[in-house]
Symmetry: C2
Subunit: 180 residues, 2 copies
């Protein structure tokens, strides 16, 4: 695929930012390209367009599939795999958050819970420190529960809530007397 200057800018930027987001450059660039592409494209085409080794593209596409961000499709009369990115940005966001929660938050919750269990019969650790750990556990649990509930709302509700921005605050503690 031929990249126009704008597309090139987009893809390169995504690649750079990927680093900060904890995604490697190849993966981020490929995802950017697939997001822009109006049609599913082959690994070969990705490699050519972005100047990456075919093997690298293969691995990266596997990773993107693992994140559920890219799916494999087929085109009639073509043996090759074609790849396509999720286009709905809300879905994209929820998928990413879901996955990051699973990889980055859940293990921490497990660890914190174990710490609290052990803490009960541990005489060494000062109470103050145990409390800190407990606070952290409670906090992350709150965030986590909130996310689980919110992520289950229908997309339209989610959008509406977002659009309300800070205005949702009106309803807090005034559930029977909402602001007009």
């Amino acid at each position: 695929m031929r990249l126009t200057p704008i597309m090139e800018r987009y893809v390169l930027h995504w690649g750079e930012m990927g680093q900060r987001w904890g995604v490697n450059r190849s993966v981020a660039q490929i995802h950017a390209l697939l997001y822009l592409s109006p049609r599913p494209i082959t690994a070969e085409e990705v490699a050519e367009t972005l100047g990456l080794a075919r093997s690298n593209v293969s691995t990266s596409l596997k990773e993107l599939q693992g994140w559920q961000l890219v799916t494999l499709t087929h085109v009639l009369g073509d043996r090759r795999d074609h790849f396509e990115s999720k286009k709905d940005l809300w879905e994209l966001l929820l998928t990413i958050v879901e996955e990051r929660k699973r990889r980055e938050i859940d293990p921490t919750l497990t660890m914190l819970r174990q710490c609290m269990l052990e803490a009960e019969e541990d005489k060494e650790t000062p109470a103050e420190i145990k409390e800190r750990i407990g606070k952290m556990l409670g906090f992350i649990e709150t965030l986590s529960d909130w996310y689980v509930q919110v992520s289950r709302l229908p997309k339209s509700t989610l959008v509406a809530l977002m659009k309300m921005g800070g205005k949702v605050a009106r309803f807090v503690g005034r559930r029977h007397r909402p602001a007009a």
Copy 2:
């Protein structure tokens, strides 16, 4: 400072997770230690406790200060700098999100806006692709605006909203007839 087994577990886990969160091990471990510590501690003490080089600790503390997560304090009659971590977890979260937004989202918004500007007089790029970029811009702007508004709410409101979880959805589109 002497680390009890529980503290050690906590600190080590934080260090490992740091990697996934995009923070290096030393920085994450030091932050964990400071969070647990009941009192401000010196760089020297951090280095000894965690088995890190003094230079490494110095650099890492600088970084933590840059993130506004750690502050420098002094103890009467002691020339040395003592360090202390933010303890309020809501503040901690908002600080981190704020900073990440600044570093990871704002530059992307800038790039996307430039793309859209250029797109107006660009004949090369297919309309469909321009639209994709526009969608992405709109989406990130929405999220960003939402965050700015929400982050300005008082902490107590924020906590109340969180605790409501998915129940906030009740108010969407029924602002004059809220569920009982």
